[in-house]
Point group: C2
Chain length 342, copies 2
DNA sequence: TGGTAGTTGAGGTACGTATATCACGTAAAG
DNA sequence: CTTTACGTGATATACGTACCTCAACTACCA
């Protein structure tokens, strides 16, 4: 015979179907002793609830909200596209997802959106935003209302989020460091580090990892202080030009954050792009082209498709109270060169 | 209202439930005109069959067979472990998989096993084996019996297989080449290329990709003819020792196939392992340790977990006649360094 | 006219689970 | 002794689909 059903449990435990149901769904009105009898039967027969039949019966729908920064970042756009695609392909999985766009540089707006989420109309929330104390509080509130919360790309530790879907920024920084050091080939000189803002936890951690490897393994290369572009193309042009004026032996550039379009333009106008080792984060249309043209040497990437599907799977598992298949949910730090472009 | 059901289709098309059922399941006894009416209704309402309800009703079980080489390869062992784990985690997905072990170096045995597969007790087959004309024929036979067939890791082109789950060997070879060239840092010298056998299509293609990049981009490095170990540790020791005697400027070693344990041992006994750039394929317990110890510089990997889950998803989709979500099924060429070890 | 084949409808049962209602105990409280 | 609350069983309906049977209708041919 196939998998045991609730009927088998009822027979094995010597109780009625109704009681099995009460126990399995943690409904009240069952003596502790009876509960145990049923649970033993479940154990003995190795019963596993058929989630799909259950969802069919209860007309379950998984209603998720994705809170994403609204802005010019190609990475977020790529992520959104992957999300739309995944939702489309998941027809039949009873998943619906709404996207809540949040002005990327307004910390208060994030909190407003989070607080405005209709907890009773949702079954889970995924959040991509920098960590602030207010966000932590808002997440805690969502958790209080019984909603599973997943942090996306940027972790929200000590906020009570159920899960983090993303890569370890410190390791990502180390990986970038090794590529920079080895591709620079024992030459000595300076490396530029550029990001939009060092207020983001990711940037800080990447920088730490990068510095650690450079100091350990490539002491002949000196890593310059982080330049912050503040997402401003003009400012980017200026600080890059200035950096090239004041450093004679520039070997490479490490771009830790978004804003690769502006950065690449600034680098192009120096006329020295081809000689530099450039390592950037996130595979987007622009970094892809730059890789193909040999302008960027390596991209450290987290696969957006994997991020999206992992977030959806984890949220579902949290809703169902089922186990997470850890091996599948670990997001890899992809190293993308021209040769292994997906 | 939620997703349309067969009832909605029946109403929309002005026919009975039975007729909708006949059309949807391609049963005979429906006028062409009526078929069209129903299909139009399906189109208009955007009906998608609820696969899980359908599987529930028809008591479907997906019975797959995995034909895998039986042998000492750590890669295959890792793959098997991932398969077992995935099957365990898929309880509730109505999937069962049997593993058919085949002596790895007996081409006839593969064919015997394939021919002995009980087509009527199976819903799909995944095959990991080198390509031979006999295998092609056996696959064609399986297809004739109506079974979906997926080629794993090593493609079986022109065999009629439904899908290939694995990476492009040529691109993988190119990727290895770039890493070798760049990590060798403009020094000139020779690179050893080692595999167990150049009869395998993978090895040939990897070699082609590797050579192409080396010739294009690193002409100062000369790539030596492929050494074949034939899975024999003693032979491996001998040919490696001989290669070190006759080449004075060895810069690196590219290991294209399995047998990394024996190769690493042979390299260790030369005492020059630390100075070499070593690029190998497949992340296994031994290559992982060698990466950590700095003996191997880079591993080109195809994630076994992804391979397994992709094969299962594709086989299921083929059984259901549903679309494949291409973006999800593209296996990435992973570059694994010590710093981004998963 | 009757026969036959092709087409359609009506309705049922089943899959495994959720959920509701009602009835029947038993034991404690009044 | 009655009342009440609690624990349990019996039974039904539903979810969306598959698959079966039986009846009925149409069209065509002999």
């Amino acid at each position: 015979m196939g998998r045991p059903t609730v009927h088998d449990i009822a027979r094995e435990a010597g109780v009625s179907l109704a009681t099995v149901d009460r126990v399995l769904n943690a409904r009240p009105g069952v003596r502790a002793q009876t509960v145990e009898r049923v649970q033993n039967a479940v154990q003995r027969l190795g019963y596993v609830r058929d989630t799909y039949a259950a969802n069919l019966a209860r007309q379950r729908e998984y209603r998720f909200a994705f809170v994403l920064p609204d802005g010019a970042s190609q990475f977020v756009e790529t992520f959104k596209a992957a999300l739309q695609e995944a939702i489309g392909a998941q027809i039949g999985e009873r998943i619906s997802a709404r996207i809540e766009a949040v002005p990327s540089h307004d910390p208060h707006a994030v909190v407003r959106v989070l607080n405005a989420l209709p907890a009773d109309k949702l079954d889970g929330v995924a959040i991509m935003t920098p960590e602030t104390p207010q966000v932590r509080d808002a997440v805690a509130r969502l958790k209080d209302e019984g909603l599973p919360v997943v942090a996306l790309v940027s972790d929200l530790p000590s906020s009570g989020r159920d899960h983090f879907v993303g890569i370890n920024s410190f390791q990502a920084g180390r990986t970038a460091g090794v590529l920079m050091g080895r591709f620079a080939c024992a030459k000595s000189g300076q490396v530029l580090v550029v990001t939009n803002s060092m207020h983001a936890r990711d940037s800080v951690e990447r920088r730490l990892g990068f510095d650690e490897v450079m100091a350990e393994t490539f002491p002949h290369i000196s890593v310059l202080p982080s330049l912050e572009t503040h997402d401003d193309p003009d400012r980017t042009d200026r600080i890059i030009a200035e950096a090239f004026r004041s450093n004679s032996d520039l070997l490479g550039v490490y771009s830790m954050g978004p804003g690769n379009v502006a950065l690449l333009n600034a680098l192009r106008s120096t006329g020295r792009l081809q000689d530099l080792v450039v390592v950037a984060h996130e595979l987007t249309p622009s970094t892809r082209i730059a890789l193909q043209d040999g302008e960027i040497d390596a991209v450290i990437n987290q696969n957006v498709g994997h991020l999206v599907r992992s977030a959806l799977r984890v949220l579902r598992a949290k809703c169902d109270g089922s186990e997470i298949f850890e091996a599948q949910e670990r997001i890899r730090i992809d190293i993308v060169l021209r040769e292994n472009l997906p």
